[in-house]
Homo-oligomer: 239 residues x 2
């Protein structure tokens, strides 16, 4: 009976707890946007989502407002809401900010990490390694994110952490767009080694080393993304 519905993810138990609706829609939509299930520019219909999640438009709208606040959707006044475009013309700004946040958060982690922080970081690193060895591309992207977020949180500066999270998630969208078609099994392994080096430098509280390791790490990732984009452009625009 419950298996009869046609793939919608509206909870079968229609009575949700109060105050969970908006958060649920927010989380799911966020994931779908970052995983490119919802493509940039795609319209997001409030009534459709309301029906899909079996709730009123009010909590759906609240979720959209929050997503708009984070720049993940664009609400056109009196017109539709659309998934935010990836700002390719300004990718340089993205790479610049991403690199700086890699550096700053790693430095601060070396300075301010406390007992227990490194255990969490190492847990994230273990998950990342597992995803790499399993060849799980999507898992690699999110585990890498979680690894660096754990480092940022050890640095205890929420301003940096929040911006970093936003940048890493935006990067998730970009990677999702290019990584699947050009998968190379050889690539990920260096990241594992670099992550281990970063952990060691943080533990040694070596700020200078953390800075240079993070800079290298960031530059490598930026170069990889740029290569993927360039390769993709060569494929699509032969000229």
């Amino acid at each position: 009976m419950a298996a009869s519905d046609t793939g919608q993810d509206a909870t079968e138990a229609t009575d949700r707890k109060r105050g969970v609706g908006a958060r649920m829609v927010y989380d799911i939509l966020r994931d779908e946007i970052l995983d490119l299930v919802l493509l940039p520019g795609e319209p997001v219909d409030e009534a459709g989502l309301a029906e899909r999640f079996a709730m009123s438009r009010t909590p759906v709208r609240e979720a959209l407002v929050r997503l708009a606040g984070e720049g993940l959707v664009t609400m056109l006044p009196n017109r539709s809401t659309v998934v935010a475009q990836i700002d390719f013309p300004n990718l340089y700004a993205f790479f610049d900010a991403l690199t700086l946040m890699y550096r700053v958060t790693t430095r601060l982690a070396a300075e301010f990490h406390e007992a227990g922080d490194l255990a969490l970081v190492e847990g994230r690193q273990a998950a990342f390694s597992k995803a790499v060895l399993a060849g799980d591309t999507a898992g690699m992207i999110t585990c890498n994110r979680d690894f660096h977020v754990a480092i940022a949180e050890a640095g205890r500066n929420s301003y940096y952490t929040q911006l970093f999270i936003r940048l890493l998630d935006e990067g998730r969208r970009i990677l999702r767009m290019y990584y699947y078609p050009n998968f190379e099994a050889r690539l990920p392994h260096p990241y594992i080694v670099e992550h281990e080096a970063i952990i060691a430098a943080i533990r040694a509280r070596d700020v200078t080393l953390c800075d240079s390791l993070a800079t290298e790490h960031a530059d490598k990732i930026v170069r990889q993304i740029q290569d993927m984009i360039a390769r993709d452009r060569r494929q699509h625009v032969p000229l």
Copy 2:
């Protein structure tokens, strides 16, 4: 007849245009929070605001959700919404991020400013000078903010600009809290000189000079805030 109402700012013309309600509440509440008209921890009642602005609770709620997304209010689930507290224990993180954004935005402005950008910056500087000479403390705070935001926009990195705006506005709250009681007419003038030096360095595209000037400027402001807090603490907590 219109003058009879008791100081409420609900528009007398009750028919607003569609789609303006939420934005209006958002702007006004934001200003009131940053100007400490609404004090940190103060509860924000949806029904009360709805009555005050002569509209339904729906647009009010949308404004509150957006403010919560920026961290200006805290929505306690199923309980009241309160104005966000100033995170005094982590002021160090605030100063660190503020200083870095001063540096980074000024550097990027030197690198990437285009024709017309400096005119806007100089306009903001003129407004700042005027506020200083008039002894208008509140105007100084906002004009200083606008000056540095114009520089950040000339740097053309919206990630930095957005974080910087958030930090400058959070600083506005802190300054509002301490600046009025300890006003000193002597203090502001050095800022005008420093601003002029920064403009010149940006125009000369001297990145290194911009970095050092911005660092000095930021350190001075940070020290000023710390002094004000320390002085205030001495007054209030005599030990």
